[in-house]
């Protein structure tokens, strides 16, 4: 109804420019045939689950219809905020996402800059191709590899003992305090090369004459990296940084689920796993929805905050 009136209005305001909406639908029928099915698809699989958020305000029983559900207001949320486990899970989520943000952000930049300084094209290409490899391998395989490398007789323990850093092998995968680092490290191993692609592309766009000029002025390699390459990819860095802040809490659960075990669960439980365990495994659908909803709302707030800060900050520093 509302959409209809706005359409009529726009037609009356600019009668000259636009033909009627339905007429253009008929004229562009193939474009609509090629897009509307997917819009419906998006609606069903991406927008309908949002309707499911109503479950967070109910005491949802699968056997009842929507009208018969019992509405409980914010009870699920107050239960959530009173649960000690929730704060533990939130701590783990924040810790791993912050570690991932910092390390996962710095490594690709450094890797791209260092790779850009390599003048031997063969070595450059091989290093780059190999660096993508782990990105294409599933987390199942990566988790298997990581736990075998970190096992008691794994290569990491052997190296550390051989270098006299450790006196005896450590069971890394069984120590809670190591878990965050293991997850962050695995992520760096898997994604650094892949994430560096964008920076390498941005570096390629920098004017070569700038480097020539700097060299004439006597700038060394470090000065060139710092004063030409870094500013050259600065806007790319900023945009990607905002995007990763927006996804700060949605760090997923794959790594945590595959790398974790019962001995480290105090450090490996994250919001999504918590939602899985409560919401689906023991069928507390409403409680699980409240957890997911909390996660989404915080993520959106973070995204807008980051974007706002960036606008303000960028105005002062770039313009």
């Amino acid at each position: 109804m509302e959409a209809l009136t706005t359409n009529n209005e726009s037609v009356t305001v600019k009668p000259r420019k636009k033909t009627g909406f339905w007429r253009s639908v008929i004229r562009q029928k193939y474009l609509y045939l090629m897009s509307i099915p997917f819009v419906i698809w998006l609606f069903v699989f991406n927008y309908l689950p949002l309707w499911g958020w109503t479950m967070a305000f109910q005491n949802y029983k699968p056997s009842r219809s929507f009208g018969e559900q019992e509405w409980v207001g914010l009870d699920q949320f107050s239960r959530l905020f009173q649960d000690d486990q929730f704060y533990l899970v939130l701590r783990n989520t924040l810790a791993m996402s912050l570690m991932g943000l910092v390390v996962g952000f710095l490594f690709p930049i450094v890797f791209a800059i260092l790779l850009n300084e390599v003048k031997n094209m063969g070595f450059k290409r091989i290093t780059q191709t190999v660096s993508y490899l782990p990105h294409f391998v599933s987390w199942v395989v990566v988790a298997g590899i990581i736990s075998s490398m970190l096992s008691l007789d794994g290569i990491v323990n052997q190296l550390l003992v051989w270098l006299h850093i450790l006196d005896e092998p450590v069971q890394f995968m069984a120590k809670g305090k190591w878990f965050w680092g293991i997850v962050t490290g695995s992520d760096v191993w898997k994604e650094t090369g892949w994430n560096a692609i964008i920076y390498l592309a941005a570096i390629t766009g920098i004017d070569k004459e700038l480097y020539e000029a700097a060299r004439v002025d006597g700038a060394g390699r470090f000065r060139q990296m710092w004063n030409i390459t870094m500013p050259g990819i600065r806007s790319t860095i900023m945009v990607l940084f905002i995007m990763s802040i927006g996804h700060l809490l949605s760090i997923g659960f794959e790594k945590q689920m595959l790398l974790g075990n019962s001995l480290v669960s105090d450090y490996s439980q994250v919001l999504d796993l918590y939602a899985l365990n409560y919401g689906i495994k023991i069928a507390h659908f409403s409680y699980g929805t409240a957890i997911s909803m909390f996660n989404s709302v915080i993520s959106i707030i973070l995204l807008f905050t980051a974007n706002g800060l960036f606008k303000k900050f960028a105005k002062e520093s770039i313009m």
């Binding site: 639908v25 562009q28 193939y30 609509y32 090629m34 897009s35 997917f38 819009v39 698809w41 998006l42 069903v44 699989f45 991406n46 689950p49 949002l50 499911g52 958020w53 479950m55 260092l114 790779l115 300084e117 390599v118 290093t127 191709t129 190999v130 490899l133 782990p134 294409f136 391998v137 599933s138 987390w139 199942v140 395989v141 590899i145 736990s147 075998s148 096992s151 069971q171 995968m173 069984a174 090369g193 964008i198 592309a201 060394g220 595959l258 075990n261 019962s262 001995l263 999504d272 939602a275 899985l276 919401g279 689906i280 659908f285 699980g288 957890i291 996660n295 989404s296 993520s299 959106i300």
Partner: protein, 299 residues
């Protein structure tokens, strides 16, 4: 190039040495685990228990591979994984290219609305439980459809293809129209053939995503042995022993698991799961580098 080498200053030379060493280290750290897995998978499984296999098998054998090709659950999982990869990739390519084409048309009346509708999906998700309930209500749980239907439209892929189409000369479409082609024919006859490079990229993304996913099987189809995927079977095998070895006093369990699937067998399965991707990705490299860059600029 070669002449310049003589002019390198001392600090330049030091820099080069440090840089090559660091990157060489990255190379070793990335490659070693794969070579190690390969070596263990090619080593006699009772000999592997003694440890000390690095990048070369000590007692070379193909027995592990022979053994795993006898596991019916793995063969079945392999089939399901291949099906979902093929079907999911084809469906995903059709949907994202069609949608991308309509969104690239500046004269398309509903372009803005659909773009926004699509872009919004990149920033929120209903969450695990609402999605689960939806799948249940749609009766997709316990079916093959759950692997390919939910992910048919992906905003990122659509935007990557659209920015590629935006780079093509619009005159091509106009001349096709003058020849009497309708919008669908323009898409099919003009746009699709020109989009091969970007479609190769998206096909790789889709195929890798399908091949690598295991969680949908875990969540929705774990109790349907004829629908479980290769990744899920691998996950079960790796997971059981990891739990076993993590529990220090559960020696019995660990031994039992070790008998069911020794290290060498596990590594052979890992290789089988990984090889299809290793074969494909280097050839598609120049495409996906371009695709990633396009996506990042626009998204």
């Amino acid at each position: 190039m070669a002449g310049k080498a003589f002019n390198l200053t001392r600090s330049e030379r030091v820099f080069n040495i440090v840089n090559y060493t660091l990157l060489g280290l990255v190379l070793v750290v990335t490659l070693y685990p794969f070579l190690n897995v390969l070596a263990i998978s090619l080593n006699d499984s009772t000999d592997t228990v003694r440890g000390g296999i690095y990048i070369w098998p000590r007692q070379f054998t193909l027995d592990n591979y022979n053994t795993i090709f006898g596991y019916t659950s793995l063969i079945q999982g392999f089939k399901i994984s291949v099906y979902r990869t093929l079907i999911g990739t084809v469906l995903g390519l059709i949907s994202s290219s069609m949608l991308a084409y309509t969104l690239s048309r500046p004269d398309f009346r509903s372009r803005k609305f659909i773009s926004t509708f699509l872009a919004l999906t990149m920033y929120f998700s209903g969450g695990m439980v609402p999605v689960y309930i939806l799948m249940r209500d749609l009766h997709l749980i316990g079916t093959f459809g759950i692997y390919v239907l939910p992910g048919i439209v992906s905003a990122f892929n659509v935007f990557v293809i659209r920015s590629f189409i935006d780079g093509l000369p619009y005159a091509l479409q106009e001349s096709a129209k003058l020849d009497g082609a309708n919008d669908f024919q323009v898409y099919y006859r003009v746009i699709l053939p020109l989009c091969k490079p970007v479609l190769a990229t998206i096909a790789l993304f889709l195929a890798v995503g399908q091949w690598n996913s295991w969680f949908d099987t875990y969540l929705y189809n774990g109790n349907k042995p004829d629908l479980t995927t290769l990744q899920y079977e691998l996950m079960k095998i790796l997971d059981s022993t990891q739990q076993g070895s993590a529990m220090a006093n559960a020696n019995d369990l660990a031994n039992q698991m070790a008998q069911v699937s020794p290290e060498s067998i596990k590594m052979a399965i890992t290789i089988v799961v990984t090889v299809p991707i290793l074969v494909v990705y280097p050839f598609l490299q120049r495409y996906f580098v371009g695709g990633m860059t396009l996506g990042a600029v626009k998204a």
